[in-house]
Amino acid sequence: MAKDLIRKQVEHVAELAHIGLTEKEIEKFREQLSAILDFVSKLEEVNTAKTKALSQTTGLKNVFRQDIVKPSFTQEQALMNAPDQYKGYFRTKKVF
């Protein structure tokens, strides 16, 4: 496991996570994330060759419900927190 991140890795992760970082933040996060990754690498010590991954604890599978149409948000409610809207639609910036 790469424990000491390089700047490029921090920039790559920020790119994947869609977070803009300042120069100062890149350096600060490089140090902090490296220290944390080093710490969590402790898990390498554990032999998990025969252990299944556990992602939930309820044992529930395929929970279904009746597909009944019920009142939902009105257009007004759905848009009430929209930073920008146009004729009942969410308005976004141009893609390109």
């Binding site: 996570a17 803009g20 390498e44 554990v46 604890t57 309820t58 759905a78 976004t92 893609v95």
Partner: protein, 487 residues
């Protein structure tokens, strides 16, 4: 009688006997907020107008003998991750600073139907990310027992509010200790329920496979009353359990004679504060006096709980917080030149440093080439941690452990070192990956007069036993009755 000191049980009884009105009770709690919250800073939003209106309606119902709700007239607060229709719900993050929830969380809806009255929303670490409430983008909550100390976190505002007599209880959320640790630091009671016992619908997500909804209260009995109200299957949360919710009060007074209590040796390591250790050991003797059988046990994977918990949690964070895109709700960068810049700039300005750290670490743990080494490995260790508990619960009924290795620490002490802050959760994060419940109760004070708590941990759906044991302890001790002397 100081009305802000009452428990739910006492308040319900007195309201029924018309010793005072709901309005008087609600006003007594607001009086505390108005007098002390400038300083304590537990609340982000106060709902006085709506609360007084609801109080007057409750009084009318009580006068006509028609108070049908089991919590009619009880004033409470909710951590600011709970959606309340028409009320600001910020997750203590700038990205949701002006967000108004368009609907009620299921737990809020159930409390409303039972007649409880929301008096305000409390401060916490943003999205639940932290152990001191210092990460909040809005304010730093102080510990009512010592204002230089943190109240714990992430639900620090909720615990400080209950300890200060600002609301009789607080609705909160626990992903890795966020109910238990602040309850411990503020000398109040807190229940982290079995995963799936209470609906998460309408609660702003942290780690969806770990998040649980619970309460911070003045007594175990009050927690038992509330869990009956908020628990149960919810069509809007597919992870809620089908098992019926028992009437916890029916069994709460039962004897705990011959209850087998395990003491996990991994929770009494070198790093633990001497006073904490001594107080927990004193408390164990009290349980022995009550007839419980104490025996040493071992949970060998405990030392891997922090990395396994955090890797699972942050991976889920990176997915859950992808929704903050600056388009449908939340902070949006006005002058962004295109869609991609809108995402990057809105998230850069809206999220604070701890939120960015967790999203980036989670993104890294899930990214190509690292998934097996980090995320999958953590899920495998998670299984081993769960198996540890499964094995130990074949031998004993419940466990006793400290909630935190130390009492409340100084404001600023750990704020600059994110890893040190993570390590503060060493005894609480263990149970969330296993989905099992834990009840934190006060068990004494340090020589500096800071509260200390212990936690009772049991297998899935063992809340009736935890309540019974916790209540038995509170019947023979007075720690939970101590109040901070606010000035």
């Amino acid at each position: 009688m100081d009305l802000s000191d009452l428990t739910i049980k006492q308040a319900l009884q007195s309201l029924k006997e018309k010793k005072f009105s709901t309005r008087e009770l609600v006003l007594a709690n607001f009086e505390r907020i108005e007098k002390f919250d400038q300083d304590i800073s537990a609340f982000l939003t106060v709902c006085k107008e709506s609360a007084l209106k609801e109080a007057d309606e409750a009084d009318k119902l009580i006068a006509r003998g028609k108070a049908a709700g089991s919590l009619t007239g009880i004033p409470y607060s909710a951590k600011d991750v709970f959606s309340v229709k028409g009320v600001k719900t910020t997750a203590s993050s700038k990205i949701l600073e002006n967000y108004i929830a368009p609907y009620d969380a299921t737990s809020i809806k159930k409390l409303k139907e039972a007649g409880a009255i929301l008096i305000g929303k409390t401060n916490h670490d943003p999205f639940g990310f932290g152990s001191s409430t210092e990460n909040s983008d809005f304010k730093i909550t102080k510990n009512p027992w010592n204002k230089n100390k943190v109240p714990g976190g992430s639900s620090g505002g909720s615990a400080a509010a209950v300890a200060s007599g600002m609301g009789i209880f607080s609705l909160a959320e626990d992903t890795g200790g966020s109910i238990r640790q602040p309850a411990c630091f503020c000398g109040v009671t807190g229940i982290k329920v079995t995963y799936g016992r209470v609906s998460r619908f309408g609660v702003i997500a942290y780690g969806s496979s770990l998040d649980t909804i619970g309460v911070i209260t003045k007594t175990v009995e009050d927690a038992a009353i509330l869990l009956k109200e908020i628990g149960g299957r919810d069509e809007n949360d597919a992870t809620t359990l089908n098992e019926p919710v028992p009437d916890y009060l029916k069994t709460i007074d039962q004897s705990i004679k011959n209850l087998r209590i395990g003491i996990p040796k991994e929770y009494f390591t070198k790093g633990i504060n001497k006073e904490v250790e001594a107080l927990i050991k004193e408390a164990i003797k009290e349980f022995e006096k009550l007839g419980a059988k104490i025996e040493p046990v071992s949970l060998p994977y405990t030392k891997y709980a922090i990395p396994a918990y955090y890797l699972s949690g942050i991976s889920e964070v990176s997915a859950n917080l992808a929704r903050y895109d600056g388009i449908r709700f939340g902070y949006s960068q006005k002058d962004a030149k295109d869609l991609k810049s809108l995402y990057f700039e809105s998230r850069a300005k809206g999220f604070g440093p701890e939120v960015k750290r967790r999203i980036m670490l989670g993104t890294y743990a899930l990214s190509a080439g690292y998934y097996d080494a980090f995320y999958k490995k953590a899920q495998q260790v998670r299984n081993l941690i769960k198996q540890d508990f499964d094995k130990v619960f074949e031998k004993v009924d419940i466990l006793i452990a400290p909630v935190s290795p130390f009492p409340a620490f100084d404001i600023g002490e750990k704020a600059q070192d994110p890893l040190q802050m993570w390590l503060a959760d060493i005894f609480t994060v263990t149970i969330n990956p296993a989905g099992i419940p834990g009840l934190a109760i006060p068990c004494g004070f340090t020589s500096d007069n800071l509260p200390i708590g212990l936690q009772l941990i049991g297998p899935r759906l063992s809340e009736p036993i935890l309540f019974k044991a916790g209540h038995a302890f509170q019947k023979i001790t007075d720690w939970h009755k101590s109040k901070p002397n606010l000035k």
